[in-house]
Symmetry: C2
Subunit: 97 residues, 2 copies
Amino acid sequence: MAFICSATWTAKAGEEQTVLDAIENLAPASRMEPGNLYYQPYQDPSDPSVFRIFEVYTDEDAFKAHGQTEHFEKWALGQAIPALASREREFYETLNA
Amino acid sequence: MAFICSATWTAKAGEEQTVLDAIENLAPASRMEPGNLYYQPYQDPSDPSVFRIFEVYTDEDAFKAHGQTEHFEKWALGQAIPALASREREFYETLNA
């Protein structure tokens, strides 16, 4: 079983580009982490203020390590999260199928 | 941009194994489709009647082709879906990040 974080980030009005820019930097760096299996930002094109990220890690420890990385601190904590009106995260496990 | 289907399948009471079995057959076959980029079933372990699938296809046509495959007809339409209390699907686009 791998660990899943399904994140939903809603940008403050006018901050969409700030959040998108952060995600464009955060995504490739996150994929390079040894514990990351998948990292996909996505969006409903009709709702450009809401950013979603489907993230899969080898286990919960790998997810926690993600939160301690330099790139997370710079691009998530430093840039995206202050520009968000709301931030939701749901946690799941993969099914071995 | 790739096409995303985020599916949420809730099994009828007592039908969890029927749905899981269908997914265990549907997943590997779906990944073999030329237009499939990613296919991951997952679950909240505390809520075993709800099955989620994160699916990524090259485009919407590839997603539609998925719905016409033998394995979808056999395992989704034929086995899982009749055993569901509810079936939700949300559609998105990947962000190029």
